[in-house]
């Protein structure tokens, strides 16, 4: 589903990604771990199409298409979803209006019929329950005045509503207490399916206890330096990222 080859990207002229390779198949959950400054969030932002990130080399194929040639909204309409590390507050834009407009924009792009207000509400109500979100969230402005935990749950709620093919969760666990973490993980797990891939970007192993990944990658200094199964995450937790610099990489990668 996602094939990244030799990806190089700079931010304000500074190289951040330095030859990153990653293959993600449909039905899989991949975790990308790494120390601060390794380029984890840059990867998410480059894939979602944020301005200010310049790809200087490499290729990203998503469902056979050259992802980097698409505008941010086209990527979304093709089924790519980024759960933001810092969801944006948009005062005055009603959640229901926003989400329905977004869903219908995607449906229109795919040649599907747009949902009426009633159909849309039916579609979203069940998703709210999963994330333990109150229905009055629908009448509030997007993320405005939300607590940190509410914002993260709202991201996963949006993901549940939009039903993407590839979801990238950028540090969705940061700032969550254990109860909120479980709720978010539950929401993500319900979206696991054979047709959908999920990439979980995280600094800590904790989230992976609840969202058990098929593959774990370690991102350091702009490259994937180690890949393995979920045991790799435990090893990182146990030994810390410093262990990578001490030559442990080859042992795992080899």
């Amino acid at each position: 589903m996602l094939s990244i080859t030799n990806l190089h990207a700079t931010v304000e002229g500074k190289p951040i990604l330095k030859g990153l390779d990653l293959q993600v198949e449909a039905g899989q959950v991949h975790a990308i771990m790494g120390p601060n400054g390794a380029g984890k969030s840059t990867l998410g932002n480059v894939l979602a199409g944020r301005e200010g990130y310049e790809v200087t080399a490499g290729e990203v194929l998503y469902c056979g298409k050259a992802l980097l040639d698409l505008a941010a909204e086209e990527r979304a309409c093709e089924g790519l979803f980024l759960a933001f590390q810092y969801p944006v507050e948009i005062p005055g834009v009603n959640n229901t209006y926003f989400l329905r407009s977004a869903l219908n924009a995607q449906r229109k792009y795919r040649g599907e019929a747009e949902l009426t207000g009633v159909e849309f509400l039916k579609h979203v109500r069940e998703k709210l329950d999963v994330l333990h979100l109150d229905q009055d969230l629908l009448n509030r402005s997007v993320n405005a005045g939300f607590s940190g935990g509410e914002k993260k749950r709202n991201e996963i709620f949006q993901m549940a509503v939009l039903e993407p093919r590839l979801a990238i969760l950028d540090e969705t666990d940061s700032g969550l207490d254990i109860d909120a973490l479980k709720i978010v993980a539950d929401g993500v797990n319900r979206l696991r399916s054979k047709d959908r891939a999920i990439v979980v970007i995280t600094h800590y192993q904790r989230l992976l206890e609840y969202i058990v990944p098929d593959r774990v990658h370690v991102l350091a200094d702009g490259q994937i330096v180690a890949s393995g199964d979920k045991e790799l995450a435990l090893k990182l937790e146990d030994q810390g990222y410093a262990w990578l610099q001490e030559g442990g990489i080859k042992a795992v990668a080899g």
């Binding site: 979304a76 979803f81 948009i90 834009v93 869903l103 924009a105």
Partner: protein, 431 residues
């Protein structure tokens, strides 16, 4: 002093030929006052952003030909579609058009007349028409007093509540200039809703000078909605003076989405205790449009409350001005005055000038103001796009949100929807 411009704005005859001599003399006195003081210019602080040069450069015909059909009823219906229904009073180039108006639905509690034939010279009501420290600030009000051919008078009886809004429609036609004025009195406990709409019959030049003076008796409530969507060569000077007595309420919501050069003044005098005034406005200036909103709230009595919330968007080479003056007079203790002016600049060539002015001479006063000029939030735009919204739709959504908050507090949802619809129409021009 610029007599030549004032002369250009003069009809051949002031008022109607049938008027009593005393009324004509009063008009002449008002005219002379304007000529003596002159029209405002760049040196007048309140007019430094709004130059009269377009008005000076253009030629307008002030002698109105009543028999010349300008617009059709169908055209008017289309312009007003989506608005709540109510009695209509239509003025074409400042003169009432009985064929397009429909006042039969007005209840008997509303007295409506054009007091052209009245000899009101005995009542010296010119004094409180000229309220400003700088006489030139009152020049256009003086012109309206002198030259509005058929002033309108509305009086709502004590404790009467109007079920439907009264819709005042102004239509300017090609090459025409007009002066118009109205007196509106709400007796004690009366409630009225007025929707004032400014239109142009075509995209050709026109000029209107409008002055409304209103008195709200104790516990009266006035809801005033302004929808200004005149054409791209329309010049408009409009002014409202509202005096409020004990416990009265004013709720103003205005949208300036059109016009080429617009100057709008709102002067509120809170004359007795516990009166409240809420002024909420949105202006959108693109192309070379110019919209200048000047508000002045004079707290003269204790425990009055005023709030102002203006939002402006400037694009292209547009220029928007907001000047909000709040005066808290000695003795106006317990005043609560809040003001906010938020603005978006969408182009490097657009300009916003926003200036709060607070003068406080009383104790125990709560006064706040905030003015911002910013740009569209790139982060929010990206966020919306990552959910699938096209950039144009995402921009529209953010601009809508920015403007609509000014109308959030509108008590009538139907009217709010209509105003938001008009707003969307103006915003669509920016894409």
């Amino acid at each position: 002093m610029d007599i030549s411009t004032a002369d250009k704005l003069r009809p051949t005859v002031l008022g109607l030929p049938s008027e009593p001599a005393s009324l004509r003399q009063r008009r002449e006195r008002a005219w002379q006052r304007v000529v003596d003081n002159g029209l405002p210019g760049a040196k007048d602080e309140n007019w430094k952003y709004s130059s009269l040069k377009l008005l000076q450069r253009r030629e307008f015909e002030f002698d109105h030909d009543r028999d010349r059909p300008v617009i059709s009823g169908d055209w008017l219906d289309r312009q007003l579609s989506g608005l709540p229904s109510g009695p209509r009073w239509v003025f074409v180039d400042g003169r009432p058009d009985p064929a397009l108006s429909n006042l039969v639905a007005l209840p008997e509690t509303v007295q409506v007349d054009t007091p052209a034939g009245d000899d009101r010279a005995a009542v010296d009501d010119t004094q409180d028409f000229f309220v400003s420290d700088n006489a030139r600030d009152d020049a256009f009000a003086g012109l309206a007093l002198a030259a509005a051919a058929e002033p309108v008078r509305l009086r709502v009886s004590a404790d009467a509540h109007l079920d439907a809004p009264l819709i005042l429609v102004h239509v300017g036609s090609e090459g025409q200039g007009a002066h118009w004025r109205a007196e509106l009195a709400l007796e004690a406990g009366a409630k009225a809703q007025i929707i004032e709409i400014f239109l142009s019959a075509s995209d050709k030049p026109s000029f209107l000078n409008s002055a409304v003076r209103s008195l709200l008796a104790p516990n009266a409530r006035l809801d005033w909605t302004r929808i200004q969507k005149t054409g791209s060569q329309a010049l408009l000077v409009s002014r409202m003076d509202i005096r409020q007595q004990r416990g009265s309420e004013l709720a103003y919501f205005g949208l300036d989405g059109g016009g080429q050069w617009v100057r709008h003044d709102i002067n509120v005098a809170l004359q007795q205790a516990s009166a409240t005034a809420s002024l909420n406005g949105v202006f959108i200036v693109d192309g070379k449009r110019h919209v200048d909103n000047h508000t002045r709230i004079d707290h003269r009595a204790p425990n009055c409350r005023s709030s102002e919330n203006f939002s402006g968007i400037a694009a292209g080479r547009g220029r928007g001005v907001f000047n909000g003056k709040v005066i808290v007079q000695p003795g106006a203790d317990g005043t609560d005055a809040a003001q906010s002016s938020g603005n978006l600049l969408l182009s490097p060539h657009a300009e916003i000038d926003t200036k709060p002015e607070l003068e406080i001479y009383a104790d125990d006063v709560s006064a706040s103001h905030g003015a911002t000029v910013g740009q569209l939030d790139r982060e929010a735009l990206f966020y919306l796009r990552t959910r699938g919204l096209a950039e144009a739709d995402a921009r529209q959504m953010l601009l809508q949100a920015f403007c609509r908050q000014a109308f959030d507090k509108m008590p009538e949802p139907g009217l709010r929807d209509a105003l938001n619809h008009q707003l969307d129409f103006s915003l669509a021009r920016l894409l």
